[in-house]
Symmetry: D2
């Protein structure tokens, strides 16, 4: 009969085996990212930030990334759309600044499962096009069962160089990702497990371009997107007051796979 080993970590199904817990395990991958940030209405955005966090700026950060040569996927790849807001966590023990993850769409299920269950990143599925590139134009489309709900467009205006590149490298080298790991009770309302998790991440930027970025959310009906429509419509209702950043980066990411911790 199967018995889990006390020095192992598992994901469902656990009974086929897991891996020895290795605090030094590294996730390595190449990354192409298009980040567009915008100012929105503070009060509306705060509706989606849990108590215990302080919204540091009324800003939504949306970024497309294509990850390739992913070591734990044996060189496979996936795309994601990350949506976050800058916050400070005021806990009893911890006080941390970081990016609170509102939602992440990914086009592969395996990283969705690990992200949710290991680090509380609220990942869900969407079809995410690789960047269509007609230099200096870049575009992607995000959809669910054929229904477009987000488009991102970018026109590069110049490479980031010298001091600006160094500043950008420093910005991306260390980022505090904050998630809310929530598992419901079985057969009852409320949470069986509810934890805020800090997952320090980082990217080695190799090159970057700035430019003009635009994005467009399209509201969805339940018939178009039965399990995500309210998430999309919440985001679509946040006004885009001003685009604050639009940058395209290439680089590598090295993450401590087991480097997350619960914050309290």
């Amino acid at each position: 009969m199967f018995q889990p080993r006390s020095d192992y970590t598992y994901l469902m199904p656990a009974h086929f085996g897991g891996a020895k817990f290795d605090p030094e395990a590294i996730v390595a991958q190449r990354s192409t990212s298009l980040a567009i940030g915008y100012e929105t209405e503070r009060e509306s955005l705060e509706h989606y930030i849990p108590e215990g966090f302080e919204l540091l700026a009324p800003e939504v950060q949306v970024s497309f990334s294509k990850f390739t040569e992913i070591n734990w996927m044996q060189g496979g790849q996936y795309n994601l759309i990350n949506v976050a807001a800058p916050v400070r966590f005021h806990g009893e023990k911890d006080q941390v600044d970081g990016a609170y993850t509102l939602v992440v769409w990914e086009n592969k299920t395996a990283p969705i499962l690990g992200g949710r269950e290991q680090t509380g990143i609220p990942k869900i599925y969407a079809d995410i096009e690789d960047l269509h590139i007609v230099r200096p134009h870049y575009a992607t489309t995000v959809s669910y069962e054929g229904n477009t709900f987000l488009t991102m467009d970018f026109e590069a205006t110049g490479a980031v160089t010298d001091g600006d590149l160094e500043a950008l490298k420093a910005q991306f080298a260390s980022m505090n990702t904050l998630g809310w790991r929530y598992v419901p009770k079985v057969g009852a309302p409320g949470a069986e497990l509810s934890q805020f998790v800090l997952y320090p991440q980082g990217m080695e930027v190799e090159s970057a371009q700035v430019g003009v970025g635009t994005l467009q959310w399209t509201e969805q009906t339940p018939m178009q997107n039965p399990v995500q429509y309210y998430i999309i419509n919440s985001l679509a209702a946040l006004p885009v007051k001003r685009v604050t950043q639009a940058v395209l980066t290439e680089g590598r990411a090295f993450l401590h796979a087991m480097g997350a911790r619960v914050i309290e």
Copy 2:
């Protein structure tokens, strides 16, 4: 700021809202299923059954289902491959007979997330072809990123009628699905949450055919299937001694969405 409501149930991301917990909520869907069961080697199979369970018969039950007109997906659909073994749970409080779920592959992510997090069904992703039908032949192929790892074939030999149909209807009307909800610790080995869950399910069989069923597992390398190869290879290594059942059913399923409970 967002505060979860105590009478609601949530899935990640929780902060965009959940649903009032409704013990009477019903999952309704149409179902076409091809079930093939086979006898295997007891000792090998027992490696994958957790302590606390007794293997009632050295049998693997593999079933393909296509669910359509799914109410919570607003009429959408998905396919699954369910792999289970007949067990008895010997708990301190509970003693239950049911089908212990070894693994489930599904071709949509939304039901994978709910199944794992709400009821401990170890669902993972695969591409699952709709049945190819050249009556009386039926076939499906299951693959991951283009790598075939399971094929199922069925040749119908006759409709199930009269008393046999009644018996089959009774068999499918109530099935105890057993899962192991396991969520790992953050930043440490071992489980943050580990529970066995009983999820009574059932299907109203409308019609059924028996026939000759065959299936074939194909071993995978890590390069072909980086996160599932060891699961597939474990199943592929279980000998198919004798096919014990091969039946194709059509019907409807009505599940109490919130009808699962933790067993101890």
Copy 3:
């Protein structure tokens, strides 16, 4: 060395072999179809009808079909969106009434190739969702690389019965599909091959429902749909003056695969 046989018919690549030409070859499949017809502006629609044809009514017929249990695909399946207009062909030899095929989208490539090269049906690729069904509501979405360009919705209001069903059966039993087989010159403007083709088709309607049908075309930019945007935008520019028919049918189709002929 390979030599084609004079009694065979081939598709590219021809050198791996073809099939003996069999005038009695039958394409058999099951079909679920949602047909929505609408009146539009005559002059605009006539822009897309070649000289030699007369537009019999300023009407666009759009139909979704899901074909299953397709014999030449060994029981496989695909979905299509057919767009046609009622015409009369005035040739030197032939005078034929039928449905001139403006464009067909299909979600599998194999039938696209045969349709284009064997019978001049202008098939191109799109992602076409299976019907989402929340009775009495039915919906589908058509998209290209994540960009929605057509949605169809239907609310059934009642079954077609008795004399109405007989009339519908007669209408669907025999339909003259008209296509324009056009193959360009290599290295020069103009056609190497340009023929109008009549392909008599038919469907055995088993059951039908009438209802309220709506559809919506969404204009596309070249960046969203580089090779089809002008087709979609041409159709989107045709006003929907009045929906003239909305009917959902179930049945079987039996086609003479080799029953098409060039009309002159």
Copy 4:
């Protein structure tokens, strides 16, 4: 009513418009290619080479390519598997050496249609994985509806430099692709159009690596791959006597889109 313009070139559907024939039109794209060539049995391979051609060497050339930033697809991308053999065409007017295209699989339909109808390249559909990369290992899988029929693996052993790189650049700079454009008669056996087409292509190699390449064809049943099984099985039956080349290249391609011509 629609009339084609004599200075335009069209693809079906022609009636929505075409493009002015421009002999200088350029197809531009980036390309990553893995080419593996192997010696096989002359007599078996000759079965698939049409009369009029001479097989110059009993060699099969299989290459995976990923094309990105494709100008005519507005920056989109697709993958292909090209299978060819080295031949000399002995025509009444033309004598040309080149690569006779046995079959090409592509994972997008748009280039399939153009390739077949404009230049006689026998393109058909398959799912083709992007390269999975765990340096120095590269792998791809080719499948149809979940059924794997080709895998390619490559282990890079070193960069191509200096004179070797110059030689490789020269080899890739100009390649004579030869196709057989074949369109069947409607309603009768035989060809309505049968032409051999020369399409000079080329790639600007920027960097290259040599290594150890392996590939494996897997035979398919009609149920697994109803319209291609005989093509795959013909190729799978050709023995791999010796791998003669395995090279991974990065570069750009610039093709004269209208630069093909019929050879006689």
